[in-house]
């Protein structure tokens, strides 16, 4: 086990290093931030001074090595726009993003799994077909459209919920979150709903096909023959087998929820990291983009590791295999 984790960590370092090179080249090929950041009225002298103070006068490889040596010390540079360390800007916005991602994930599991189980268990019934048709809708409706639609209906039309922003914040166990206040929760409803629609459909479909695959298996027949209760068969024996693909996908999806909630965050004016990324790209805030991508890569690596480890908790076969090897 320890060897496994160690090997994964070494692989991760290589991945991060390669990504940093790619990201740097990519960001450089977009364009020169000097044109965006320095006001049009600036004289040539001021322009040169600003370019120098931002370090843009140095060639790319030199800028890369400066970045790399700082990154080794845990410093991912300062934002051109805000003149603050990029890491602190990102971590300051992380709670808002995590809150949104975890709520959406929670919703997709709580709604998706039961729906999928019902659909799988009662395959080809009217209920199954209704659920499946609904999930196609959730799949295919683009986020920006559902987001705007939700705002138009529930905020502009019915005045039930606020259209955007994060609302009042409070503290639960020392963590600042919107979940602590009623106003905060009201602000969460629409963005979470629009973000989770797709995931709910995904989880529903995965669960359904898992159930369909597992039900005809021999061990289920055996359990039935043994006279186990139906609920025990479905919720313990079948469910465990269904869980493995769900954990894999949900792990990846959590990563993408955190990293790519960009559309939802922009439309709902949610002060998270996704909005920060989009703003940084339009302003060509290079250090910000690079730092954000680096942190995202690390995030994915960690999530994947956790997913791999959790397999062995769920599936005894994997545990045994590892022991053998």
């Amino acid at each position: 086990m320890l060897v496994f984790i160690l090997r994964r960590l070494i692989q991760s370092v290589v991945v991060i290093f390669l990504v940093s090179i790619l990201v740097f080249i990519g960001v450089f090929s977009i364009g020169n931030p000097a044109d965006i950041l320095i006001p049009a009225e600036a004289s040539q002298m001021e322009r040169d001074a600003a370019i120098k103070s931002l370090g843009l006068d140095k060639p790319m490889y030199e800028q890369y090595f400066i970045f790399l040596s700082n990154a080794m010390k845990g410093d991912l540079g300062r934002s051109f726009v805000f003149n603050q360390p990029t890491i602190s800007l990102i971590t300051a916005r992380m709670p808002a993003t995590l809150e949104l991602a975890f709520c959406a994930l929670f919703l997709s599991l709580v709604i998706g799994i039961p729906l999928g189980m019902i659909a799988g268990y009662k395959a080809n019934s009217l209920l199954d077909r209704t659920i499946m048709t609904g999930s196609i809708l959730g799949f295919s409706a683009p986020t920006f459209w559902t987001a705007i639609l939700l705002i138009m209906v529930f905020a502009v039309g019915l005045h039930w919920l606020p259209p955007s922003g994060r609302g009042q914040l409070g503290k639960i166990l020392g963590i600042t979150t919107s979940l602590a206040t009623w106003d905060g929760i009201r602000h969460l409803v629409l963005p979470v709903t629009s973000l989770s629609l797709f995931k709910i459909s995904l989880v529903t479909r995965l669960t359904r096909s898992g159930i369909r695959e597992t039900l005809p298996m021999d061990f289920v027949k055996y359990a039935r023959a043994k006279g186990l209760r139906k609920s025990r068969i479905v919720f313990v024996h079948v469910f465990r087998n269904v869980l493995i693909p769900i954990v894999t996908v949900v792990g990846m999806e959590l990563g993408s929820l955190i990293a790519f909630g960009v559309v939802t965050e922009t439309i709902y004016a949610w002060p998270g990291t996704g909005k920060l990324l989009i703003d940084s790209i339009t302003r060509l805030d290079r250090p910000m983009i690079v730092a954000w991508l680096m942190i995202t890569v690390m995030l994915f690596i960690v999530i994947n590791l956790v997913v791999d480890l959790s397999y062995s908790l769920i599936d005894p076969r994997i545990r045994l295999q590892r022991k053998k090897s």
Binding site: G31, P39, A49, F82, G165, A269, P271
Partner: protein, 528 residues
């Protein structure tokens, strides 16, 4: 009295008290939805628009534009010229910072000294202070001296926000962002900034000027256009800036909303490569390069300008949110020529000019533009292509994100391209010298002259204007320079953007002179 009745009575009393308290408070707070976020609360960090907006609320300056003058009295009551290089400024007596400490000449000196020490600014105020030395004469008198005769001395002085020496000594931009050092004498006090989300301000009851209506102002950052409009329609915010032109028609019809169109300061124009012998993106209709760049010929440029149907462009494409223009300087600014109106489209005359120049059958060109910098930019570019087609010019349109477009335009990689220039000073010196002056780093001319237009007589007028101290004389010189550019068809101005603000019906938005900004000070309750 039983316990339950007692507590009910207390609750009722509390509720009544709350209602009394809440009524005026609720009535006097405003929420503003702003498109762009400030870079810092530090008023010396960046000249970017949103940063100045917040600084305007918290800090005061020595002069502010008013109805009569570019430099109307603010913290300074008056000024007089001592000699060619220096002026003496009298401060308003008894002005206090929002914590009650007095604002004196020493704080002004400190503010001017602090500007160059703010590190890593992409858009610094340093240019405004480098050639000025400041001397405190007495607690209410200052002397400003420039190194050489400088026409924009007052303008430069009036851009610097005054901070408190006591609160801001040794303070970094972060100390301002957290509120620790953000002490000013402006109409509002800093409460908190949640980056990416909102800025909260409270009215400064010690403000020397007219106190604004709202006691509490929340400025929310809502980048997405539709979301900003939705927030207004849902009643969450009272004022939004930069109403997207697509929504203007539906908002105008909405009985709960008032629209406030205000002339902006950004001129949208087409820049042409009028310098090089061979230019990359102009060819004959078979795609063969010309030996001589047609855009070097004044008649060709004039013809292209005459093909533009500016009125149609503004009315239809922009839904009315613009003013047709033939001048680079916006109306009301120094250097604007009153009787030079945008010409009507004249295809016949344009074709005649093209024939005279030796292109009776027209030619082909590629029009380059960003697609995300100004509202309706892709549509505007397509309309321009159609206008040119009427005169026999074959146009290919290429648009891309600003981040890609602008560096290439700066690098003079294009032949014919659409750009904008935002004027922030109330006079035309900036736009004329930067866009139309011959490209020359030493003389500080032509920093935005991406087409490399060059005219000796234009340079002569603009250089004189840049050294002229008297507003009226400078106006004449700027107009003379502007006239040269118009007669030369140096660039093709199209329109001045109109910024549209929207409020709930219950509010009136009356911005002061200069660039209209979504500031809580300019928001008043509508008369019943």
């Amino acid at each position: 009295m039983s316990t339950s009745r007692k507590s009910a009575a207390i609750a009722a009393a509390l509720l009544a008290a709350l209602a009394v308290l809440a009524a005026p408070l609720a009535a006097q707070s405003v929420v503003i939805g702003m498109q762009a976020e400030p870079q810092a609360i530090d008023p010396h960090f960046s000249t970017s628009g949103p940063t100045q907006r917040i600084a305007d609320c918290l800090f005061e300056r020595l002069f502010m534009p008013d109805d009569k003058k570019l430099a109307g009295p603010a913290l300074a009551l008056s000024w007089k010229r001592i000699d060619e290089l220096s002026i003496e400024v009298k401060l308003r007596p008894n002005v206090k910072f929002s914590d009650g400490s007095p604002l004196t000449a020493d704080d002004v000196l400190f503010s001017f000294e602090r500007v160059p020490t703010v590190p890593n600014s992409p858009a610094s105020y340093i240019k405004d202070v480098t050639d000025i030395s400041v001397k405190v004469v007495d607690p209410l008198t200052l002397r400003f001296t420039s190194k050489k005769p400088n026409a924009s001395l007052l303008g430069q002085i009036s851009r610097i926000f005054i901070v408190s020496r006591k609160a801001a000594t040794g303070a970094t931009s972060n100390d301002f962002n957290s509120g620790k050092a953000a002490l000013g004498a402006g109409p509002y006090k800093f409460v908190e900034w949640l980056p990416g989300d909102r800025i909260v301000l409270a009215r400064n009851e010690l403000y020397y000027g007219k106190k604004p209506y709202a006691q509490k102002a929340t400025i929310r950052i809502i980048t997405n256009d539709s979301a900003r409009v939705a927030a207004l329609l849902a009643g969450d915010v009272d004022l939004i800036d930069t109403v997207p032109p697509t929504d203007i028609a539906s908002l105008r019809a909405d009985p709960k909303v008032s629209l406030w169109p205000i002339q902006g300061s950004t001129i949208i124009y087409i820049h042409m490569d009028s310098d090089r012998e061979k230019t990359p993106f102009v060819t004959d209709k078979n795609g063969k390069a010309f030996d001589k760049n047609p855009l070097k010929d004044k008649r060709v440029r004039m013809a292209l300008s005459l093909l533009m149907d500016r009125k149609l462009l503004v009315d239809r494409v922009l839904q009315g949110s613009g003013t047709p223009a033939i001048q680079m300087v916006p109306p009301g600014y120094l250097g604007y020529i009153d009787n030079e109106k945008a010409p009507a489209v004249d295809v016949a005359k344009a074709k005649k000019l093209l024939a005279e120049a030796g292109y009776p059958n027209g030619f082909a060109l590629t029009l380059h533009s960003a697609n995300d910098r100004y509202s309706f930019q892709p549509e505007v570019v397509q309309a321009v292509a159609q206008f040119l087609a009427r005169g026999g010019i074959e146009v290919k349109v290429e648009t891309m994100p600003t981040a890609v477009f602008l560096p290439k335009a700066t690098n003079t990689e294009y032949s014919f391209f659409l750009l904008g220039f935002g004027n922030s000073t109330g006079e035309g010196t900036g736009v004329l010298s930067a866009v139309l002056g011959s490209y020359n780093k030493e003389k500080n001319l032509g920093s935005n002259n991406r087409g490399r237009y060059s005219s000796a007589s234009f340079d002569d007028f603009i250089s004189k204007a840049m050294a002229e101290l008297d507003d009226d004389k400078r106006d004449v010189l700027l107009q003379a320079a502007a006239k040269v550019a118009i007669d030369d068809a140096a660039v093709i101005p199209l329109y001045i953007e109109t910024t549209v603000f929207a409020t709930k019906k219950s509010f009136v938005f009356k911005p002061g002179l200069g660039i209209p900004r979504p500031e809580p000070m300019d928001l008043y309750p509508a008369a019943k």
